[in-house]
């Protein structure tokens, strides 16, 4: 029952808002958004305290990877909702009420993705997240915004179509095998009897399909444009939560493939996509002049690290699930902070934004801390997860992969530091004045920053337990 409520509640709240004539002012809308996000997180917390029974004949269940994605989505969404209170006071995004309804629709669809144990339902959920967020990207009525939406729609629709074909392939692999079609538990239980050629084909199509939605190279081309043009809070939700939902699709097919004994086929493919994404990100981060596009390339980098960890297996699987959470929190944090910069100056280009530490002190501090967090410096959580993935590479007998990854991470650190430190510390324009910062606009990213810092210092016992179960499901284990 609780599982159905987690999925249905945001959808109903979104519908109610778009139907209610009373919900006119931005205050009502943002209050509604924060209330729904708070209740959703409350429901998710009860799932940690007392596990819920599966619902809808086993189609919905909160297993370890799903629970992690659901919690990440809910936390990131609450931070974004708090931020939107300040944001909607300053900006009037196109569509008014529909903007908030779209955000709530996304929360509901992402919850379906996280809890779905039926792969066709998972696919429907991922499709719905695309449809809910696409209209929100197109908030300025100009060429650049239009181009971003068009690229995003075409590429992610093609990706989603290929993922559907992959889902059908998996159903074909299951033909004549006992168990309910496309239900995770039954797929894994009878994995040995699945037709190997169809499992391999399904893996490739699902990886490319969901990889397009994640933004893995070479299917990443929509990402810098979309994140660069979307309102910062939408970009934060996409980079923090939506990519994790798409990654869960890849996790699901990897679970089935590992159980079916296809590790030797899948691992080189995953490693290849991972290293390519890191290399492409490193090449484009150096010399970047736009902060939002820089963060988009950084997102390509982290998606690469996620599949790299999956491909390495062993403790790499544990590092990957932890990295998914760390990256989701940190990426949303940075996009929200950059959103403050854009609100103050109207642009995300470095040239228009020097001296942020002096002009926007709170956001400036969060921006500089965020630079160290996303590049994997201690004491932040990303250091632990990246370190675990590197350990898996060395321990698994891939010293060259570890060396290449380290070298690329170093290049990325330098590229990001040059731009962000320039923005934070450079000399402001002569006529630029200190801008008052609303508490709403700082609270969300500050809370996310605290969470990333906490995960770097101490992982709570319940989380440790769920992380280990997720890693075991992926054929790995805790370090």
């Amino acid at each position: 029952m609780r599982l159905i409520a987690v999925c249905a509640f945001p959808l109903l709240a979104g519908l109610l808002l778009s139907g209610l004539p009373a919900a006119r002012g931005p205050r009502v809308r943002s209050a509604w958004l924060v209330a729904v996000a708070g209740v959703h997180l409350g429901l998710v917390v009860t799932l940690w305290l007392a596990p819920a029974d599966s619902a809808l004949a086993g189609w919905l269940a909160a297993d370890a990877p799903g629970l992690l994605v659901l919690t990440l989505t809910s936390v990131v969404f609450l931070a974004t909702a708090l931020y939107s209170v300040g944001y909607l006071q300053r900006e009037r995004p196109r569509g008014g009420r529909l903007f908030v309804s779209g955000l709530l629709g996304f929360l509901g669809a992402a919850s379906v993705v996280a809890l779905s144990q039926h792969l066709a339902m998972l696919w429907v959920g991922i499709e719905a997240t695309t449809l809910a967020l696409a209209p929100l990207i197109f908030h300025r009525h100009d060429r650049r915004s239009l181009e971003a939406v068009w690229k995003y729609l075409v590429l992610s629709s093609v990706g989603i179509a290929l993922a559907l074909l992959g889902t059908f392939f998996l159903a074909t692999a299951q033909a004549g095998v006992a168990g309910r079609p496309l239900v995770m538990a039954d797929l894994v239980a009878h994995a040995g009897e699945l037709h190997p050629a169809w499992v391999r084909a399904a893996f490739l199509f699902l990886l490319v399909g969901f990889g397009t939605k994640m933004g893995l190279a070479p299917m990443h081309t929509w990402k810098p444009d979309t994140y660069g043009e979307a309102p910062s809070l939408v970009a934060g939700l996409m980079a923090g939560a939506l990519t994790s939902c798409a990654f869960l699709g890849v996790v699901r097919v990897t679970q089935v493939g590992m159980a079916a004994g296809q590790a030797a086929f899948m691992q080189p493919v995953l490693l290849g996509f991972g290293l390519l994404s890191l290399a492409v990100a490193a090449a484009f981060i150096v010399g970047q002049t736009d902060v939002k596009r820089l963060l988009a390339w950084s997102s390509v980098e982290h998606m690469g690290l996620l599949v790299l960890g999956l491909g390495l297996g062993g403790v790499g699987a544990w590092g990957t699930v932890l990295h998914m959470i760390n990256n989701g929190l940190a990426k949303c944090w940075l996009f929200l902070v950059v959103g403050n910069v854009v609100l103050a100056s109207g642009s995300s280009v470095a040239g228009a934004n020097r001296g942020i530490l002096r002009l926007l002190p709170a956001s400036g501090i969060l921006l500089v801390l965020g630079l160290f967090a996303v590049t994997g410096s201690p004491p932040f959580g990303l250091f632990i997860s990246e370190f675990t993935i590197l350990r898996a590479a060395i321990g698994g007998g891939h010293p060259w992969i570890a060396a290449a990854t380290l070298a690329l991470l170093a290049v990325i650190f330098v590229g990001m530091a040059v731009l962000i430190l320039d923005v934070a510390l450079g000399d402001p324009e002569p006529h630029a004045a200190k801008v008052p910062e609303s508490a709403w606009l700082v609270a969300g990213p500050a809370a996310l920053a605290a969470a990333v810092l906490l995960l770097g210092l101490y992982i709570p016992a319940p989380l440790r337990d769920v992380l280990e179960r997720a890693a075991v499901a992926l054929g790995g284990g805790a370090p």
Binding site: V124, F138, E147, S157, V158, F168, T172
Partner: protein, 212 residues
């Protein structure tokens, strides 16, 4: 009855090539509508026994793929006053040659992916061919509208493959697939419309402002 579905699948391939070879946008859309008609007939021909499920699936496919979507595209052409040529990035003859290559690739791939006994064996190669040709149209045609045609062909190919699983995939999901096509084109159509208003043309190749 054994050969009738195979004949229909042959016509599906021919309609793929019609889209690749034509110079006119309206012919493209007509070929797509014809393909929708063929796709609507297939569930009825392949079903082992008639049920309301199969009839509804055929009817739904007929309405959406053979009538609504082609009408919608034709309406978009008139409304947006698009020029009627296809404007490919690569010529028509190379396109057709690539189409032949796609057909070969489809058969080669399906030879390595055996279907369980009792399913129409030609479905897999024709489905893969339609998917590849759809991707080809999507990537080698300049107009936003032709890209929508390519995307719909891609979806048609996936639908063909889904027919091999028609007995095991629940009804709800098939409906979801049809709905998905509808929504995708609906939204794309709106964007196409905006593209027209902003640029005075439906040429997505001119959307090149965002670059690194």
């Amino acid at each position: 009855m054994q050969t009738a579905p195979q004949l229909v699948l042959l016509f599906v391939v021919l309609s793929d090539f019609a889209v690749l070879g034509t110079t006119r946008l309206t012919t493209c859309i007509r070929a797509l509508a014809f393909q929708g008609l063929l796709l609507a007939a297939l569930p009825l021909m392949l079903a082992s026994h008639f049920s309301t499920h199969v009839v509804l699936l055929g009817l739904g496919t007929l309405v959406v793929k053979a009538f609504v979507l082609p009408r919608f595209l034709t309406w978009a052409i008139r409304e947006a006053a698009v020029r009627r040529e296809v404007e490919p990035l690569i010529g028509y003859v190379p396109s057709l040659l690539l189409g032949v290559l796609a057909l070969g690739l489809g058969f080669a791939m399906s030879a390595r992916l055996p279907l369980p006994a009792g399913r129409e064996a030609l479905l897999v190669p024709v489905s893969l061919t339609t998917v590849i040709i759809g991707l080809l149209v999507l990537t080698t045609r300049r107009k936003a509208l032709t890209q929508v045609v390519g995307y719909l062909m891609l979806e048609n190919g996936i639908f063909l493959f889904g027919l091999t699983q028609a007995e095991s995939v629940p009804f709800l999901l098939e409906l979801g697939v049809l709905l998905d096509v509808f929504v995708a084109v609906f939204i794309m159509g709106i964007v196409v419309f905006h593209i027209n208003r902003e640029f005075d043309s439906l040429d997505s190749a001119r959307l090149t402002e965002l670059q690194d």
